[in-house]
Amino acid sequence: MNAILEFLHSDLFFMIWTTLAKSAGLLGVVLGMVSYTVYAERRVSSLMQDRLGPNRTGFPLSLLGFGIKDWSPILGGLGQPIADAVKLLLKEDFTPAYVKKFYYWIAPALGIAAAIISLAVIPFGSSIAGVPMVIANIGIGPLFIFAISSLGVYGIVLAGWSANSKYPFLGAIRSTSQLISYELALGLSVVPLFLIIGKLNLVEIVHYQVQNGWMLLPGITAGKLPTLSQIVCWIPILISFLVFTIAMFAETNRLPFDLPEAETELVGGYHTEYSSMKFALFFLGEYTAMITGSSLIITLFLGAWHFPGIPDGSMAGWPGVLWGLVNIGVFFTKVFAFLIFFIFIRWTLPRFRYDQLMKLGWIWLFEIALVNIFLTALIVAFVH
C-alpha cells in the first residue's frame, strides 16, 4: 500500500500522468482542429467561389430552449463536422472482394499514425505550472519528425497496392515518389536554420526565437532591434522558409501538388477503393499531417507560442497558468492562420503536371536548398 502511495507521489508518476494528459489534450485539440479545418476549408473555398458553403447544420439550439433563428447564419454549419463524422461512422463499411484484406485494413491506420506521432515533439506551449508543454522533449526533434513522416509512405503504398486496382496503384506510386522526392528538399531546406541556431532541439529553437526574434521576422523581440548578422541571415532563412513551405505542400498532398489524388485522372488516388471510416482515416491523416506541418513551420520560423508582449508561463501561481494557456492559444491561433493559408493556396492554384512536379522538386527545390546551405555556411562562417 505504501509502495503504491510512494509511487503516486514520485516524479515518475507525475511525469507519466502529465504526459498522458498532454497527449490526450493535444490529440483532442488536434482532432477537433482537423474536423474544423475541413469545415473551414469548405467555407473558405465557397466564399472564394462566391458561394456560401455548409451553413445549415448548426447546433440544435432550439432544443436547449433558444428559439433565436437569427443565430443560424453565425452558428450555422458549425455542426457540420459532427454530422460528417456521424455520417462516416454510420456508413456501410464496404470491403471489396478482391482486395488483400490485411493490408487493406492496416493501411489507413498506418497513414494516420505517422501524422499523429510526429506531433509528439512539437512544443505547443511554454509551460504550465512547471510542466513543459511538449510531450517528448528530445534533442533531435525535426529529424524525428522527418523520420516518422517518412513512415507515412507505407500507409499510402499499402493502400494502393492492396486495393488491387489500377487507379489506386498508380496513385500510390505517384504519391510515394512525390513524398520521397520532396522529403529531400524538406529536410535540406531547414538545415540553414540549424546552422544558424546550432541546435536541433525544438524547444531550444523556440527559446532562441523568444530571445532573438522570430526566425522569419527578426524584428519581433521585446525592445531589441535586429542585429546586422540577423539581417544578413534573414536571406537564407527566407529562401529556406519558401522551400520548406512548398515542400510541405507537396508532402501533405495539398493542391498544387495533389497528384496522388488527382480526381480527374485517377478517380481518387490511393483511397479510391476505401469508404466509410477507413476513408475518413486517410482524410484525417491528411489533415493531421497539415497541422503537423504547419506546427513545424510555426515552430521553426514563426516563433511558436511566442508573441511580443505576452509573457511565458514560467511565473508562479495562477498568472503563470493563465499565461501558459494563453501561449497555447497563441500557438494554435498561428497554426490555424497557417492552415487558412494552406486553404487559400489550395483553392487558388491549378494542379501541376507530373513532370513539372518532379522537375520542381529535383531541379529547383533540391538545388536551391543545397545552395542555400552553402550560402548559410558562408554567412555563418564570416558574419555570424
Binding site: 534533442g139 516518422i148 517518412s150 513512415l151
Partner: protein, 166 residues
C-alpha cells in the same frame, strides 16, 4: 531504460525478424522487417544513441524498405509456393546456424567484462552536434568517400535499370 522495455523491444525485434524469414508473402516479409528495424531503433534509443536511432528509421524504414516494397510490387511477386526443402540444405543450414548460436552464447557467457552495467552519462549532451563535429573533423575523409560512393551507386542504379544495356 527499464529491463521490461528492453525485453519488449527485443522480443519485437527478434519476433518480427523471424517473421521476415517465415512469411511466404514477400510484402509481409518486408513489413515484418520494418517493424523489426523499428524495434532495433528503439534499442538504439535505449542505448542513448538518439541520432543513430532516428537515422536508422529515416534511412532503413523510410527509404530502404520502401524501395524493397516498390521492387516487390514492381516485380509482382506472389507468395511462394510451398516447396519441398531439400534435406541436406535444411540440415546443413540448421546445423550451421545452431553451431553459430551456441558459439555466440558461449562467447558472451565467457565475456565477464560485459556483465557490468553501463557507465553513467551526462544528464544532457547534444548527440547530433557531437556526431556532426566528429563527422566533419576526424571522419572527414571517410565522409567524403561515402559521398562519392553514393554518387557512384546512384549512377550505377540508373545504368543497371535501363532496359537495354548497350
Amino acid at each position: 531504460m527499464s529491463p521490461i522495455l528492453f525485453w519488449i523491444f527485443t522480443a519485437l525485434m527478434l519476433g518480427f525478424g523471424a517473421a521476415t524469414l517465415i512469411n511466404r508473402n514477400p510484402v509481409a516479409s518486408a513489413l515484418s522487417l520494418v517493424v523489426s528495424l523499428l524495434g532495433l531503433s528503439a534499442l538504439f534509443f535505449s542505448l542513448d544513441a538518439y541520432f543513430i536511432g532516428v537515422i536508422q528509421i529515416l534511412v532503413y524504414a523510410g527509404a530502404v524498405m520502401v524501395l524493397f516494397l516498390f521492387i516487390i510490387m514492381l516485380l509482382d511477386l506472389k507468395a511462394e509456393q510451398r516447396r519441398q526443402l531439400s534435406l541436406p540444405v535444411l540440415l546443413g543450414g540448421a546445423a550451421v546456424t545452431a553451431l553459430f548460436v551456441t558459439q555466440i552464447v558461449l562467447v558472451v557467457r565467457s565475456f565477464h567484462a560485459g556483465n557490468q552495467s553501463f557507465p553513467p552519462l551526462a544528464s544532457k549532451f547534444d548527440d547530433a552536434s557531437n556526431i556532426g563535429n566528429m563527422l566533419f573533423s576526424h571522419y572527414n575523409l571517410p565522409f567524403q568517400v561515402i559521398g562519392v560512393l553514393i554518387l557512384v551507386a546512384s549512377i550505377g542504379v540508373v545504368v543497371l535499370s535501363k532496359r537495354e544495356l548497350n
